[in-house]
């Protein structure tokens, strides 16, 4: 899997910061240039550079900020070093602005606005730390923390800490739903609330295939997996949001098990899930056995050996065995997405026979 620099530096749009694009062009010997035809671009030519975007001036927390037009408030905040919480936002997906943890106050707007999707406007006056902002963020986190198992969602746990969200004040968690019950809730059919408990989405984990598990007790309904499975990456549309209100859930067609669905096991939904609701079966089993130990894991960067696309892989290795595979979000080849082979086809590495003597 060597890359000679030649092919990469002809790539018309090397993503900034991708370590794989190396070697300054000036380093080529003349004979190489004369004898070797120029490498073909590794992906279709990029569109012509966008015209320079006009700058927009706005105020964030009293500081005047200048940022290219078309940027979001979130981008403007990040450029200012203002750490804005996000749960449903991911750089490589269309913003759905549903979690509402990123809300900010914009002078003149009756309600708070989602920083992740709202575009900056000239003269905007944004407050990211007002009482109203902190209150809404805290409540959103309390709502999530009191209804969803966030134990494998470190970022959400961090926000809960930061905003002082008291997830216990809605009462003890209600009894979990039996397997499949939440999948059968019909829209509009009321279920009387429990008197002394807080309803949750807790339910048994769905283990119906050898590759990954779906633990919807941990699902915050951020829509990321649906986007990754559909329009934003995979174009398979094996999963969608079903049901309504608090009964809304991620579901296959008619809630069938994954092997009976349209799923092609690309695992791109796992790659974007912020809470660990979607998890490699390998990780799930190791966690169940108590052997999962992130601190003992190393990451090896490589390129997928299966086909000619050349997807960037990060192999996560524990005890000299590959435990999960991801792809960097900023890879110009994958945007973080893989197919079943790159994502799950690693067992052969561990199953090599003795080989020729």
């Amino acid at each position: 899997m060597s890359h000679d620099g030649l092919s990469m530096d002809r790539d018309p749009a090397p993503a900034p910061g991708v370590p794989r694009a190396s070697e300054p062009p000036g380093a080529q010997p003349l004979t190489d240039i004369l004898l070797r035809p120029p490498a073909r671009p590794s992906r279709p030519p990029a569109p012509p550079p966008e015209p320079e975007r006009a700058a927009v001036e706005l105020t964030i927390d009293g500081v005047t900020v200048t940022i290219p037009a078309g940027s979001t408030i979130l981008e403007a905040c990040r450029a200012q070093g203002i750490d804005t919480p996000t749960l449903c936002y991911l750089e490589n997906l269309t913003p759905v602005n549903v979690c509402r943890v990123c809300v900010v106050e914009v002078t003149g707007s009756r309600v708070l606005v989602p920083a992740c999707s709202r575009k900056v406007e000239a003269g905007m006056d944004v407050k990211t730390n007002s009482d109203r902002v902190r209150h809404s963020r805290k409540m959103v986190l309390e709502f999530l923390g009191s209804s969803v198992d966030l134990s494998t969602a470190p970022s959400a746990l961090g926000y809960i800490e930061r905003y002082g969200a008291d997830t216990a004040r809605y009462g003890p968690a209600d009894a979990p739903s039996p397997a499949g019950e939440r999948d059968r809730h019909e829209a509009g059919h009321h279920h009387a609330p429990p008197i002394d408990a807080a309803q949750t989405v807790e339910q048994p984990v769905k283990v119906d295939n050898d590759l990954y598990v779906r633990d919807y007790s941990k699902c915050i309904l951020c829509y990321k997996c649906v986007e990754a499975c559909g329009e934003d990456a995979q174009n398979t549309f094996a999963i969608a949001v079903a049901g309504r209100g608090f009964d809304a859930r991620i579901s296959t067609e008619s809630a069938v098990p994954l092997p009976d669905s349209a799923c092609v096991y690309c695992g791109n939904c796992i790659g974007v899930c912020p809470t660990g609701a979607l998890m490699f079966k390998s990780e799930h089993d190791m966690r169940a056995a108590g052997t999962w130990d992130e601190s003992a894991q190393t990451t090896t960067q490589t390129i997928c050996p299966y086909c000619g696309v050349g997807c960037a892989l990060d192999l996560h290795v524990q005890d000299n065995a590959i435990v999960t595979v991801t792809s960097p979000l900023d890879s110009s080849v994958t945007d973080g997405h893989l197919c079943i082979k790159g994502r799950f086809g690693f067992q052969f590495v561990q199953n090599r026979g003795p080989g020729p003597a």
Binding site: R100, G230, E253
Partner: protein, 612 residues
Amino acid sequence: MDLHVIGPLASPAERAAVDALLGPPESGWRGGQRDARTEGHVARGGHEARSRRDLLIPVLHAIQSRIGWISQPALNYACRRLTVPPAEAYGVASFYALFATTPRPPIVAHVCDDLACALAGAGDVAADLERSVGPAGEPVDGGETTWLRSPCLGLCERAPAMMVTQAGTNPVTFVAGPVDAVGVERRLEPRTGGSTESGPPPIPQRGQPGLRLLARVDVVDPSSLDDYRAQGGFRALARARRIGPQQVIEEVTASGLVGRGGAAFPTGRKWAAVAAQPAEPHYLVCNADESEPGTFKDRVLMEGDPFAVVEAMAIEALAVGATKAYLYIRGEYPLAEARMLGAIAASGEAGLLGDLDIELRRGAGAYICGEETALFESIEGKRGEPRNKPPFPVEVGLFGKPTAINNVETLINVLDIVGSDDGVAAFKAIGTEASAGPKLFCVSGNVGRPGVYEVDFGTTLRELIDLAGGVSGGLTLKAVLLGGAAGVFVGPDALDVPLTFEATRAIGATLGSGVVMIFDETADMVAALTRIARFFRDESCGQCVPCRVGTVRQEELLARLAAGRANGARDDELVLLREIGQAMRDASICGLGQTASSAIESAFRQPQLVAL
């Protein structure tokens, strides 16, 4: 898209239901007979099929009303026909309360137990039904029938009300009220036709001189174009064509007409914005989803004066430059739907609509689809999830195009404004500067003559209640719910407030969709608040966290208070209620979440209203 349809084949009846709407399938690719000679490896239906996604909800209606529920094979067949991924179609089907994705008996009584019906004893009806028929949703009569609780059916003047849906080759939908449990059971008998038990229109002012919006209701024959024309119909459209779009917009703007759907946005400004958009085509949508509890004015207008709605839509289409219009009507209005279909067809056949095509789309049991962007999603064949704004519909609306959307009552106002040279002046002479014109109010609850009333803006609440016969049974007034479940409770101290947008706003209330629901001294306010909380919990689309979970936490909190089991001190619970409300108001995507705590919080601000 990688369309992957797996599973058993649809039954002949399921296929017939879909084919009756879409015609026979063209190829095996689309679920028809395979023919190796003509098909080979050619996939038919790429672009053309994808562009039919918007037929998904009509197709789901077709299956539901033929079979009584939507099975996976039936859904799969619909997906093949329309090139929709099955998971997405399931997401859509499971979003709407009138669609069943688990087996449901063919005959269903939807028994309203919402606010107005509860004041009229719907709680007893439901309790009696539980005893005599069984729990809601339980199949009885050998799996042929069942009953379900329903949110407001928009029949508040006939409380307690019900709707029956009967699936089959001749599906029947009808409404009835007032009913008791025996009446509900009687209507579970299979019927062969006769779609609606229509009572007289709830217009106590019928025939009074000076009515503008209600002038023709229950006077004109709603199925006769000739009668409508004989009473002045289609003259406003003729004048609009004469003066042209620009002048129409100027007149509507000058009249000061603002939207009657709840948001009170200036209508002329909306039309001008759409007319000015360079993107083509422009769409027009008439919002007849009317699902705010306590609201039934649009139903009365459509049932009683359907040609007026068609004429007003034609005027708006002319003004905003649209040749395609949709009327989105809630699924629980069978009579209004039939009358509107008749009026649209008759007007078109008579050549009165020019190049305008009006299509009726039927909702499927989702209050949220009254929100304009959720309504667009629904017409497009999707889940009724509101969009984030901006961009606003005037720029990016239905199918991503500039769209003018207006409420039925808003449109009816246009006829008099544009109908004559002095229409603007006459309109402005009514009401106040900021609230011009006549207004319909839906008066219901513990009141002498419930119904739709037309008064001038500025009429006081007291005058309106007197007009409706006062509190029934000579009892004293405890509270009035203004604006519906998304509105505000006011006490007797507010009786002298003039009913205008500005005056109600000044006392922290709202006119909303024109609901005026009367609660007498004996009314169970805790039950009413609990019902409101339940309504929002059930109707939240579930997209955003503050509303999806906030409405659940709000309902739990009220259940605790109602049971006398406050978590800690009662005042702490009330603080928590306000904190939940504040987050829903501030951080929710749409008006549903933003107003889900409004009525409940308003009641708790008035200690004399709720003794909890």
